[in-house]
């Protein structure tokens, strides 16, 4: 049940393995990004790691105007996971472009994340972000599970999703990833919609809608009642969805959900992801992403791959062991 640990077996550095991947047209120095909402605007991590050693990072989802989130409590711990109901609190696109981006060191790959309540608002935001040279690509958050009039409808309804992707696609020629909601019956259908409407790639999964209760107070823990489940608990679900989507579409997939170490990350690559994002694990260990990239290279070497890119979809069938 589960394999042996991946990292730490080889002392040799990853120099001989080509760690580079291209995600939806964005060249990355390695396959490990950090996930939106778990890496702030990047600068918060400067004390802990050299940001240029990341494949890249996806900034906190933006709205056109600055936005306050939900009242506390906003988070809860659950078995091997956590709930959040932040509600896309963010500095707004203007502050992002004028203050946050310029504060980042040269050479950091930044993917902006866009959120909105209507396709037109997404498109307006995407158009503004597109103009900035420091933005390497755009991820649209079609999946935020806790804003009532927001993402959940787009990511859960194929027609709404198609309209959203088509509208945003017209607004930018930059690499465009669509981050899907996991709260759907058939993820492959949603992936196909994105592909058909011209998305360059898909990110999955966002947090899964869930709930926690404080039995002593007899109340939901979160002020919002519902929140998004993230962390190791959801990894097997995320892995399944990445695998299903990879069977259904040809555009690249960025795998997210419960990744804590290189072994977890490799699972997503083998199931068809081109790159991965580290989320909740950044809270436990703000240096995690860099170690994971290194561990993937070690794995590739031990298994005779000269390019990390070749791990994508390299899963063998369960028979014939």
């Amino acid at each position: 049940m589960g394999g042996a640990a991946v990292s730490g077996k080889t002392a040799v550095s990853g120099a001989d393995v080509d760690e580079r991947v291209v995600l939806a047209g964005i060249p990355l120095r390695n396959a490990v990004l950090t996930a939106s909402g778990t890496f702030g605007y990047g600068t918060e991590f400067a004390p802990f790691l050299d940001l240029t050693r990341l494949g890249g990072f996806v900034a906190k989802s933006l709205t056109l105007e600055p936005r306050h989130g939900n009242p506390p409590p906003r988070i809860a711990e659950t078995p091997a996971g956590m709930l959040n109901a932040i509600s896309i609190e963010n500095v707004g696109v203007t502050a992002f472009l004028e203050e946050k981006l310029p504060a980042l060191p040269e050479g950091v790959v930044v993917i902006a994340s866009a959120f909105g309540t209507e396709p037109g608002l997404y498109a307006e935001l995407v158009a503004r972000v597109t103009a900035h040279p420091r933005v390497a690509g755009i991820e649209i958050n079609a999946s935020c599970p806790h804003v009532k009039s927001g993402g959940i409808e787009f990511g859960q309804d194929p027609r709404l999703l198609a309209e959203l992707v088509a509208t945003v696609r017209r607004a930018t020629s930059r690499p465009l990833l669509v981050k899907l909601s996991p709260n759907v019956t058939r993820i492959a259908d949603m992936a196909k919609v994105c592909e058909a409407e011209g998305a360059d790639g898909i990110t999955l999964i966002n947090a899964i809608q869930a709930m926690e209760v404080d039995v002593e107070r007899r109340r939901p823990v979160l002020s919002n009642i519902l929140g998004g489940l993230s962390g190791p608990a959801i990894r097997p679900i995320a892995l399944r969805m990445v695998w299903q989507a990879a069977q259904a579409v040809r555009i690249p997939i960025c795998g997210v959900g419960g990744i804590t170490n290189a072994e977890d990350a490799v699972k997503f690559l083998l199931c068809g992801a081109t790159a991965v994002q580290v989320g909740t694990q950044n809270y436990l260990d703000p240096t995690a992403a860099v170690g994971i990239a290194q561990g993937i290279a070690d794995y590739a070497r031990r298994h005779g791959f000269t390019r990390v890119a070749d791990l994508t979809g390299a899963l063998l069938s369960p028979k014939g062991q």
């Binding site: 778990t38 890496f39 702030g40 400067a46 802990f48 809860a76 809270y283 436990l284």
Partner: protein, 300 residues
């Protein structure tokens, strides 16, 4: 929303694997002495994030999140219980077991390792010098009148270094520590050793004055001019302290203890509602705040 404070990190925090030097009973709580590689030193009122339990033979993903704990004491390059490797510095944390994370911290044994991120947040001196919302009633910058430090329960742990620093600076310092009973007056002997004015209260009268710590606070404020109150403890206690301070025209700072996932301003989970509207991140703008900034009714 996360305000981007230039001074958010007087010493940039580090991530390390702290080594347990000792895990001792401390009344009804525990005193954890840690040797921390590359610990840069902290400001009074700062905190750290401790993994929920030892790094054992295998990674365990439940409980998942690290736990915020005040830096109780800095012992510098050397602990009582063991010598320190080069680059390690010794700090102490005081805590009570209230749930799974603290139960696992109570299980820590000598020589085990526990993941640590810190120091984090803005301490008393920093917030005083640069409050996120300037107090309209007070001159910004360090206070100079008498300092009244009020600690309730484990909130006591956030005050020791501040009492020490203020006393060293020559400020008149009174420390009022309140708890349920004698065994909850964590760190009492350390505070005594500081030689500052020290009053203890217990709800059950098992030590010090019987009653709540707010009683002696009001007494003190009646006697003092230009005092500043620094209160750390359960939310109702801090709120009461803030009201008493306001009634006496004294400045008041509090240190909030919202649940946290990251501790360094990226999960946005620790938001506290501001009286002026919107939210402040406890881990980044706080945990110390001017009391009048807080929308007390909006705290959970």
């Amino acid at each position: 929303m996360s305000a981007n404070h230039g001074h958010a990190f007087p010493h940039p925090p580090t991530r390390s694997r702290a080594r347990v030097l000792a895990n001792l009973p401390e009344g009804h709580g525990r005193r954890l002495r840690l040797a921390v590689p590359d610990w840069p030193g902290s400001q009074p009122g700062q905190f750290l994030m401790l993994g929920a339990g030892a790094e054992g033979g295998a990674v365990r993903r439940d409980p998942l999140l690290p736990r915020p704990m005040a830096v109780y004491r800095e012992l510098g390059g050397r602990g009582d219980a063991a010598d320190c490797a080069a680059g390690e510095r010794v700090i102490e944390v005081l805590f009570r077991v209230v749930g799974r994370g603290t139960a696992l911290l109570a299980d820590l044994r000598e020589a085990e390792r526990v993941p640590l991120v810190g120091p984090l947040g803005r301490g008393f001196a920093q917030v005083e010098a640069d409050p996120s919302t300037p107090d309209p009633n007070a001159t910004p910058g360090p206070a100079s009148g008498p300092a009244i430090l009020v600690g309730g329960g484990t909130g006591i742990a956030s005050l020791y270094e501040w009492a020490r620093v203020l006393a060293a600076r020559g400020r008149a310092v009174a420390v009022l520590l309140g708890a349920r009973s004698a065994g909850d007056l964590l760190g009492w002997l350390d505070f005594e050793a500081l030689g500052v004015g020290l009053i203890g209260t217990t709800e059950d009268g098992s030590a010090g004055v019987k009653g709540l710590v707010t009683g002696p606070l009001a007494d003190r404020l009646r006697e003092s001019v230009g005092a500043t109150v620094y209160a750390v403890g359960p939310t109702p206690m801090m709120r009461a302290c803030a009201e008493i301070a306001a009634a006496h025209g004294a400045r008041c700072y509090v240190s909030l203890e919202n649940p946290m996932a990251c501790g360094f301003g990226v999960c946005l989970g620790c938001a506290a509602p501001r009286r002026a509207g919107g939210f402040a991140l406890v881990c980044r703008t706080g945990p110390v705040f001017p009391a009048q900034e807080i929308d007390w009714a909006g705290l959970p």
